[in-house]
């Protein structure tokens, strides 16, 4: 039994305190009862259930199942469905399926998910151990059962990069057409930890919050949440079932922890810009013609996902100070690669936006079509300086308030 917040395996010390001793979250009454039963110190004798016989070929698990309790009727997803079909109570109302029998209805064909699991068991068992390394950190994410994915999966992949943690900027391939879960990220992060020789305990809690069957990507980037416990969020919008495409300029957030961005590929339009926060190395590729906002809030008042990734990283990393980030305005500035190849930087409501401070005027003039003086500080109060253009291949230093970005043109 794991803490839903931090993934710690709960035990006697947590029951004694009434809180998870990993993150301090309080245990709910049902958590306490379950833990007491597990530890054999239940105050009441738990109900003994008849053994469930799993038919050959497995149990077909639908994408969504509605609780049959008429007072509940909530949608169940993922692991909750499987448990419900096996006779466990609904995770929402606590009532079991009133029509459930001890033996589930057999299906002639196993589900796609089960096929994936079986396939991965084979692949994992065939693979040399060093190809599927498991990091041994102080509190390693526990993956006791085979997951629905493996890095050995074949097929088209989408090039992706980490947008949070010490691996920010590190690229890897996400497989398409199969269900992706905790094990894949455990394997990737463990492998990177070994190859880069760095401690990646930063991700322990993050991985534990990813479900075993979390999401699926189609070849065109369409993302489908598989009923994950802690959610799949694309640009701050939670996905239920099939969602939008994970493309350039989007931030994918798994379980509110692991953040990812797409890397430009040959299938994408050829021109794009690459924006990197120089302190955290958090990077995003943005297609030509998109005004990308570098500020804290979107127009609808919700948090900008790219900015959120940077501030979250700063807050959680020793030696980084998120205070400078908090001084960025809610709506600050946009940067865009225009069709003519020029950068367009617009200060919308920000206090200060600075472009390439300190670069000599002569350098600016070379190949530049800028009408205004390009160096200097642009403030929202000064009309006429709100928009500026830059025709080089790179904005070496774009300062949004006191936070530094590098913008490269491709």
């Amino acid at each position: 039994m794991q803490c839903l917040e931090c993934g710690k395996n709960l035990g006697e010390e947590d029951l004694a305190a009434g809180n998870c001793q990993g993150c301090g979250e309080p245990l709910m009454p049902e958590d306490v009862s379950n833990l007491e039963s597990k530890l054999g110190i239940a105050k009441e004798v738990p109900e003994v259930k008849a053994p469930v016989l799993i038919p050959e070929g497995g149990i077909k698990v639908p994408d969504v199942l509605i609780c049959k309790n008429p007072d509940c009727g909530e949608d169940l997803y993922g692991d909750d469905i499987e448990a419900y079909l096996k006779g466990d109570p609904c995770q929402i109302c606590g009532q079991p399926d009133p029509s459930a029998s001890s033996t589930p209805t057999p299906e002639s064909m196993p589900s796609q998910e089960q096929k994936n699991v079986e396939e991965n068991i084979k692949l994992s068992s065939m693979a040399p151990e060093e190809e599927v390394p498991v990091e041994q950190n102080e509190t390693p994410p526990v993956v006791s059962e085979p997951d629905a994915t493996s890095v050995l999966m074949m097929g088209k992949t989408l090039r992706t990069r980490f947008c949070s943690g010490p691996l920010a900027g590190t690229e890897f391939d996400l497989p398409t057409g199969i269900i992706i879960g905790r094990q894949l990220f455990n394997e990737i992060i463990s492998a990177e930890s070994k190859s880069q020789g760095i401690d990646l305990g930063w991700y322990n809690k993050s991985i534990s919050r990813i479900s075993r069957e979390h999401f699926k990507l189609d070849e065109d980037g369409t993302i489908t949440d598989m009923g994950s416990a802690n959610g799949t969020i694309l640009d701050r919008e939670e996905i239920f079932g099939e969602g939008d495409k994970f493309g350039l300029g989007n931030v994918l957030n798994l379980a509110d922890e692991i953040m990812l961005t797409r890397v430009h590929s040959s299938d994408d339009d050829p021109s794009f810009i690459r924006i990197t926060n120089t302190e955290t190395k958090i990077t995003i590729d943005v297609p030509q013609g998109v005004k990308y906002h570098l500020g804290r809030l979107r127009e609808d008042g919700r948090r900008e996902p790219f900015a959120l990734a940077i501030s979250d990283h700063m807050k959680r990393t020793d030696g980084m100070n998120a205070d400078d980030f908090r001084r960025i305005s809610r709506r600050h500035a946009t940067v865009e690669l225009q069709e003519n190849g020029e950068f367009l930087v617009e200060n919308i409501e920000g206090k200060t936006v600075t472009i390439n401070p300190g670069i000599a005027k002569s350098k600016v003039d070379e190949g530049s079509t800028v009408d205004d003086l390009v160096t200097g500080v642009y403030t929202a109060d000064t009309l006429g300086d709100k928009v500026t253009k830059w025709s080089g291949n790179e904005i070496e230093l774009l300062q949004i308030g006191r936070v530094d970005f590098n913008v490269l043109k491709f």
Partner: protein, 385 residues
């Protein structure tokens, strides 16, 4: 004197070990404490965007407030555009107030500075309920956070009223939280008079105005995520380590209880009684303790304090709503719903928060959160006024 209760999730723990727990300090006003006469300072946006119908509504609202005032209440008005000025110092129910005009830009910083100048001369009287009401469409030059958060030092809370359909409630809600106040949403000018009346009626129920909670944290103990049940962060971004801390709370009103919840870590629980925090509030004192024992079965068999879990989960849910994290809020409300099957106070929290999570309008969400409080039965409820 007010009543102080302080508890952990479990008030007993394994000795000679560290402990990570949740805690709550519950503060109830003395039943014999009367409500306070009101000192209301209205800080009114008279910039160009308020000209015409807007300024007319302001004038009518001020006249309405004067009608609602009792003989003991006082009203002052600060107006601001590019700069701020004291329009009227203390006036009573029957005094005449000169007219208002609108024009120019919007500078929140000047308005807050003028308010602080005024409070430096007239604030700090514990026998009066100090209320500042900041009214604007939310678009303007920002005031410094530390200036806004110093308003409670004068015994005042500042509430913000967001007007016009294009209001930016985030900015105003942020200022209201820093000044321990509430946000009122008035997208139409027709709403403004109603909200003014609501605020004034709320003011009439105040028993302790911007009260201060004094904490003396023992060595080896740290409090974090210190919040009131409406999600107001009392020490934003800071942990409270060993030593003395003063926390400005939101107003305490008739029939309501203030709950301050937090995460607490203890480096080592000694055998026997451990005093974790000394608490001082409005002349009364209390302590937060944990008993250390080496008998495991005693700790495992001890019941958990559900009130702490409910308060903590409610506060985190309201905080998530304030931060716009509706998925996190929904998860916490689902937890409360499940817990509500056996714990009545959890059910009341889930019901109260459930109505807020269903709203998509930010202004309405902020206003609804500001109304959340706890009644004397420990139930999370919405204020009527």
């Amino acid at each position: 004197m007010p009543n102080i209760n302080a508890n952990l999730t479990k008030d007993i723990a394994i000795a000679n070990q560290s402990l990570l727990s949740q805690g709550m300090i519950s503060l109830s006003p003395d039943e014999n404490t009367s409500t306070l006469p009101i000192d209301l300072v209205m800080v009114l946006d008279t910039s160009g965007s308020m000209s015409g119908a807007g300024v007319q509504v302001l004038i009518e609202s001020v006249l309405l407030i004067q009608k609602l005032m009792s003989a003991q209440d006082r009203l002052a008005i600060i107006t601001f555009d590019n700069s701020a000025q004291l329009h009227s110092s203390w006036v009573g129910k029957n005094d005449t107030i000169s007219g208002l005009t609108a024009g120019g830009g919007t500078n929140f910083g000047s308005a807050i500075n003028e308010l602080l100048n005024f409070l430096a001369q007239h604030g700090g009287d514990p026998s009066r309920a100090g209320i500042a009401l900041f009214m604007s469409d939310g678009h303007g030059g920002k005031a410094a956070d530390d200036h806004v958060s110093s308003i409670p030092d004068f015994g005042y809370t500042m509430h913000c009223l967001g007007v016009t359909s294009g209001v930016n409630p985030d900015h105003l809600e942020h200022m209201a939280e820093l000044a321990r106040g509430r946000y009122f949403d008035a997208p139409d000018f027709d709403d403004v008079k109603v909200k003014f009346a609501q605020l004034f009626n709320y003011g009439k129920t105040i028993q302790y105005s911007a009260p201060v909670l004094e904490l003396d944290v023992a060595n080896g103990v740290t409090l974090s995520e210190v919040m009131e049940v409406n999600g107001t962060a009392l020490a934003p971004g800071n942990d409270l380590g060993p030593g003395k801390h003063s926390l400005a709370l939101c107003n305490m009103t008739q029939g309501n209880v203030s709950q301050v919840s937090f995460k607490i870590s203890v480096d080592n629980v000694a055998l026997g009684e451990n005093k974790l925090v000394d608490i001082g509030f409005m002349g009364n004192i209390g302590t937060l303790n944990v008993k250390g024992t080496d008998i495991n079965t005693e700790v495992l068999g001890a019941s958990t304090n559900n009130a702490v879990t409910v308060s903590r989960t409610t506060a985190k849910a309201t905080r998530a709503l304030k931060d716009g994290d509706t998925s996190q809020a929904t998860r916490l409300v689902t937890k409360l719903e499940t817990m509500g099957k056996t714990v009545a106070t959890a059910a009341s929290s889930a019901t109260t928060l459930g109505t807020v999570t269903g709203s998509t309008d930010k202004g309405q969400i902020h206003e609804a959160i500001g109304k959340i409080t706890v009644n004397t039965k420990g139930e999370t409820v919405t204020r009527e006024n």
